[in-house]
Structure formats: structure tokens, C-alpha cells
């Protein structure tokens, strides 16, 4: 304790000195003269309080660090025991899906709307997880594929009258094509270089959409994108020619929440499908090849794998999921403009993947929920909202740098004959 007193005094003194020179005194010009103004007792009181806090912290610093270390070791989160068993896990997943399906009928309209957005981010997170988490390719332009998907649907609809269901597979294919075309030349690059090129790609797409005014409407965006129909049933008050409206068909009163609920359920089903497809892929040889490539690409080549091909498959598959998410986003918003696809979107999706724990699907889902809900919940804090958000991110990286639920490698059952 004694050995710590001196450094603690020193730190407190330094705080006081720096604080006093920055906050305590100020230069003010009066006419041609500059005078030093010394601030009131309240400022000084604050400064002394700060010094006292620093002093106290220096004394207990070691203990705090020890507590933190313990927390880090103790924080190896394990799934509750009842989730270890396959059958029980399946039951839990079924229950969770059931609850998610029930949710929109009980929650408020705005909550359902936010949940739909969350599900879109879940899809994006899962898709990027293939590229970044599994294949280890740092893609900073993921939003570009999201934009391609959204614009494919919007443009096909406004020019050729394609419905959502007709446009969806085309949007998926289109983004996959973009992923392939971009991936082909750049996947020879590694790490930082790849990140920069993909970052550029995301921006190019956005700027292109912004400037191709004749086709995309430029910054004005595309409006009046119809929501998807449910087998020929539309959710508008009055259906278009050749369609029936949902409320008339079932003989119920028109209610705009029907549409919100339908979009939610649609997004949920797509998110589940994406999660399932990726879950299967991870357990197939190609999924293992992605991970092997992330670990050691020389070893992969020595085994006859073509690294560019393997990377390209991850890139293309990841991109096509973004395209599907983009189409759903366009359908939900009804209006898209290049402003929806700025770099910050890429950053958020990447943050979801990293926060979730690279490669882990459940982690990505949780992180996507956290990343979209936190800003909503923190809305009450007004201007401190983003500050709070940033603080939570920093704390997260301090306490759980490996992410919420880091990937536990899937293991195959050993069949002994």
C-alpha cells in the first residue's frame, strides 16, 4: 500500500495541474490586452474532486484489474446444460420460433416494425459472417451487395412491373453475380488490401446509384415500391387489377398492421432459411474449406484446394444473402435511395459479426438484436444516445473481446463400426 501512495499522489497532482491549466484559467482579450481570468470556486472544487478520484483509483487499481481478469476468465459463457442435448436443443429452437411467430400479434405496430428491421440485420449479419467470420475475408463493402439487391427489386418493379416474388430470385442471382465479378479480381489480395478494395466497391455502388439519375432517380431514390403479396393477395386498402386484397378475401376490416405483420413474418422466415442454409454449409466440406483457408492457405493449396475458388464461393454466397436482405428491405421501406446504403451500414453489419463472435451464428443473431435495439432503447437519452452506444461497444470489447458467443467448432459424431 505504501509503495502505491507516491505514484497515486503524483497522478493526482498531475491531474490537478493539467486540469487547472486547461479548465481553471483562461485567456481573455479585453481590447488590445490579454488578461488571465481565474475561474470560480466551483471549477476548482470539481478539479479537486477529479484529483481525488484519480488518487483513489491509483490506490485500488491492482484490485480492479484482478477483478476484471477474474471476470474475463469467469465469463466463458456456456450454453445452459439443457441446450447441450440435440433433441432438447431442437425443442428449444422450435419454441423460440413459435414465440417469434406469435410476437407480432401481441406487440405494438412500431415494435413489430423494428423487429422486421432487426431480422434484416440478422440476415445481413449471417451473410457477412460467412465472408468475414468463416472465410476470414475482411469485407468492408458489404452494403454494396445490399444495395444491389434492393435496387434490383426496385428497378425491376418500376420498369417492368415485376412483383416481389418474381424479383427476389433475380435479386439473389444478381448480387451473387456482382459478388463473383468483384471477387474474381480482388480475392488474390489479402487482409488490409482486400478491405480497402471492398470498401471502394461499396462506395462505387452507392455513387453509381446516386449519379445514374436517368435510371435510378439519383438522390431522389425510388418510391412506391410495393410490398410483397401473399399468393395473389395484396395488403393495400384497394388491390390492383388482377389481385384481391387481403382483408376482402378474409372478410375482415382493413387494418394497416396486417401488412406490417406480414412483412415481419416474411423477414422471419427468410432469416430462418438463411440461418439454416448457412448452418448446413458450415457442416459441409465447403464450410470446412472456408475455415481451413482462413487458418492456412498454403496448407490448403498443398491439399489441392484452389484458394481463389474457395474464397470466391464464400464471397458469392455471402453476397447473395445480402441481396435477398436488400430486396426485403426495399419492400419494407417502400422507398430506397442511395442514402440507405452508406458506409456506416457496412460498419454496423461488421460490428454485428465481430460483437457476435466471429463465425458463431447464435452470437451474430444476438449481436444483431443488440445493435438494432440498443439505439432504439437509448432514444430516451437524446443527444447522449450515440455516446451511450459507443460506451457499450467499448465495454464489450474490454470485457468480451472474443465476442458474445465465440464459435464452438462443430464436431461430427464418430461412427465406430
Amino acid at each position: 500500500m505504501k509503495g502505491k501512495l507516491l505514484p497515486a499522489f503524483f497522478a493526482a497532482g498531475l491531474t490537478l495541474l493539467l486540469g487547472a491549466s486547461v479548465l481553471g484559467v483562461q485567456l481573455q482579450s479585453q481590447g488590445i490586452e490579454t488578461v488571465v481570468v481565474v475561474h470560480g470556486p466551483l471549477t476548482w472544487l470539481g478539479l479537486f474532486a477529479a484529483a481525488a478520484v484519480v488518487f483513489a483509483y491509483q490506490l485500488v487499481k491492482d484490485r480492479v484489474q484482478r477483478v476484471r481478469q477474474n471476470a474475463r476468465q469467469g465469463s466463458r459463457f456456456r450454453l445452459p446444460a439443457f441446450l447441450e442435448n440435440h433433441a432438447q436443443r431442437r425443442l428449444m429452437i422450435a419454441l423460440a420460433i413459435g414465440a417469434l411467430l406469435m410476437f407480432p400479434f401481441m406487440a405494438e405496430r412500431s415494435a413489430v416494425d423494428i423487429a422486421t428491421l432487426t431480422l434484416i440485420y440478422v440476415m445481413l449479419g449471417l451473410g457477412l459472417n460467412v465472408v468475414v467470420g468463416l472465410a476470414g475475408l475482411l469485407d468492408l463493402g458489404y452494403v454494396g451487395f445490399y444495395a444491389v439487391g434492393a435496387y434490383t427489386y426496385a428497378l425491376l418493379n418500376s420498369y417492368f412491373g415485376f412483383s416481389f416474388w418474381e424479383a427476389l430470385p433475380i435479386a439473389g442471382g444478381m448480387t451473387a453475380l456482382f459478388g463473383y465479378l468483384l471477387g474474381f479480381p480482388v480475392l488474390r489480395l489479402r487482409g488490409d488490401y482486400l478491405a480497402i478494395v471492398t470498401l471502394g466497391f461499396g462506395e462505387i455502388i452507392r455513387i453509381l446509384l446516386n449519379n445514374l439519375t436517368e435510371i435510378t432517380g439519383g438522390p431522389n431514390g425510388i418510391a412506391r415500391i410495393p410490398e410483397p403479396s401473399l399468393f395473389n393477395l395484396q395488403f393495400a386498402r384497394r388491390a390492383d387489377e388482377g389481385y384481391t386484397s387481403f382483408h376482402e378475401f378474409f372478410g375482415i376490416a382493413y387494418d394497416p398492421t396486417h401488412k406490417v405483420i406480414y412483412l415481419y413474418i416474411l423477414a422471419l422466415l427468410f432469416a430462418l432459411a438463411v440461418a439454416y442454409i448457412i448452418y448446413r454449409l458450415m457442416r459441409m466440406p465447403i464450410g470446412r474449406a472456408w475455415e481451413a483457408l482462413r487458418e492456412d492457405d498454403i496448407a490448403c493449396r498443398s491439399l489441392g484446394l484452389n484458394p481463389t475458388g474457395v474464397k470466391l464461393s464464400a464471397f458469392t454466397i455471402g453476397a447473395s444473402f445480402a441481396g435477398i436482405a436488400g430486396s426485403i428491405f426495399a419492400a419494407r421501406q417502400g422507398f430506397i435511395s442511395p442514402l440507405s446504403f452508406t458506409f456506416i451500414e457496412s460498419a454496423i453489419v461488421l460490428a454485428i459479426v465481430v460483437l457476435g463472435g466471429m463465425g458463431s451464428q447464435l452470437g451474430v443473431v444476438l449481436a444483431a438484436v443488440a445493435m438494432t435495439l440498443l439505439p432504439e432503447i437509448a432514444r430516451e437519452f437524446n443527444e447522449y444516445r450515440m455516446l451511450l452506444f459507443g460506451l457499450i461497444m467499448v465495454l464489450m470489447m474490454v470485457w468480451r473481446p472474443q465476442g458474445l458467443l465465440p464459435l464452438k467448432r462443430p464436431q461430427m459424431e464418430l461412427k465406430r463400426g
Binding site: 466440406p285 470446412r288 475455415e291 487458418e295 493449396r301 498443398s302 491439399l303 489441392g304 467448432r409 464418430l414
Partner: protein
């Protein structure tokens, strides 16, 4: 006709010449070893056979097919496998998954059969079957690297310094396995710094110095050769 035929091979790293007009051959069913000191070009020769770096001139024929222009992944799928220097197993994956990666281009039944085969060859790997590669000892990792290479059922196995950094007792085991593989019909091309051990199991050997083959003879003859003894076997 030799199984592997390297004719007048020259390889450069940028402006630096690493191999100078190297010719050698490996016949079916042989263990052929390449010995030489650090920096003589042993690994370069092996990697040139694998297609990376690409040779500047010369031909490499494997089973009567010229392979020097092919991509590495093509070459590695043509019946040839390499255990790279430094093992390079997938440390985050289990033994089982490492082996499955080795048989990437084969179907499930073949993988299952060959997994049984390599596990019989390396019983130690069976004990470690669900363990991550990175948590195993160096010797076990080397066994895994060899087993993984065998998963593609190669007709020719290239080994780069399998004894590197291992305890003598493990080295002895590894060399025993190499001989056993040869006896079971796999042709082996072995690059080693541990010249004594390598030459004692080899049918034939080459000595590489400054990118050139300076001696070629049977393993026994090289082991008895005065120059070789002085340079590589400590007198």
C-alpha cells in the same frame, strides 16, 4: 520410365537463382532422398515440383505428364501429395477435420476407409481424434500432417523435413512409418537435413549444394561417401 522426372530445372526468386539445372528422377516404389545444407535449395526444388514457385526453365514430368506449367491445386490433385515444411496442420480444427480436409476431393466412403487406414498407421492420432490440432505435441502434429497428406491416396508422397524440431524417439517412429509406406507401395521423395537418417532408409539419394546436384548415388553409397560424411554427417 521414372515416376517423377525432373530435367534441367532452373528456378529463380526474382533475380536470385535458387536452382541451377537440376535433374533427378524417382522410380516407382522407391524412397529417394535429397540432402543438403541450409539454403541449398531443397525446399525450393520440392516447391517447384508443387508448382510454386514456377520454374524458369526445365521440365517436370509426373507419370509421363508435364506438370511444370500447371497450377498448384491441379498438380496436388494428380496423384501427388506433399507434407509441407513446418507441418502446417489446421490448428483450430480437430484431427478428424484435418483428415477430412486431406480427402477433400474424395467421396465419403473413401474418406471413411482411408481414415481407418491412417489411424491404424498412427494409433496416436486415434487417441487424439477429437482434439484440436494446435493442442497436440510437435510429433503428433507431424504425424497428422503425414496422415492428412495420405488421405488423398497419393502415389507419390513428398516430404519436407519431417524430422524438423522433433525428439529423436519420435523421429525414429516417423522414419519407420516412411519405410512402411514405401513397403505398402507409396513412392516417397524425402527432403531432409537429417542426412544420416534419411540416407539410411533411402534407396537412392541426391546431394544438393548451392542449387546444384553435386552427387547422386544409392543411399548406402552416399552414407559411406567421404565427402558426404565430412559435410553432412559430422566426419
Amino acid at each position: 520410365m521414372a515416376m517423377l522426372d525432373v530435367v534441367n530445372l532452373t528456378t529463380h526468386y526474382g533475380p536470385i537463382q535458387a536452382l541451377d539445372d537440376v535433374s533427378l528422377s524417382v522410380d516407382r516404389g522407391e524412397i529417394v532422398t535429397l540432402v543438403g545444407s541450409n539454403g541449398a535449395g531443397k525446399t525450393t526444388l520440392l516447391m517447384s515440383i508443387c508448382g510454386d514457385p514456377k520454374p524458369t526453365s526445365g521440365t517436370i514430368r509426373f507419370e509421363d505428364e508435364e506438370i511444370q506449367g500447371m497450377t498448384t491445386s491441379r498438380i496436388m490433385r494428380s496423384g501427388l501429395a506433399v507434407v509441407p515444411e513446418g507441418r502446417r496442420i489446421f490448428t483450430g480444427m480437430t484431427v478428424e477435420e484435418n483428415l477430412a480436409m486431406g480427402g477433400y476431393y474424395r467421396d465419403k466412403q473413401e474418406i471413411a476407409r482411408d481414415t481407418d487406414y491412417v489411424l491404424a498407421l498412427f494409433p496416436r492420432l486415434k487417441e487424439r481424434y477429437h482434439q484440436r490440432g494446435g493442442t497436440m505435441s510437435g510429433g503428433e502434429q507431424q504425424m497428422l500432417a503425414i496422415a492428412r497428406a495420405l488421405m488423398s491416396r497419393p502415389r507419390l508422397l513428398l516430404l519436407d523435413e519431417p524430422s524438423l524440431g522433433l525428439a529423436p524417439i519420435i523421429i525414429a517412429q516417423i522414419f519407420e512409418i516412411i519405410e512402411k509406406l514405401r513397403d505398402e507401395g507409396t513412392t516417397i521423395f524425402l527432403v531432409e537435413q537429417n542426412a544420416h537418417r534419411a540416407l539410411s532408409i533411402a534407396d537412392r539419394g541426391y546431394v544438393l549444394e548451392h542449387g546444384r546436384v553435386v552427387l547422386a548415388d544409392s543411399g548406402k553409397a552416399l552414407l559411406a561417401n567421404d565427402e558426404v560424411r565430412r559435410a553432412y554427417l559430422g566426419g
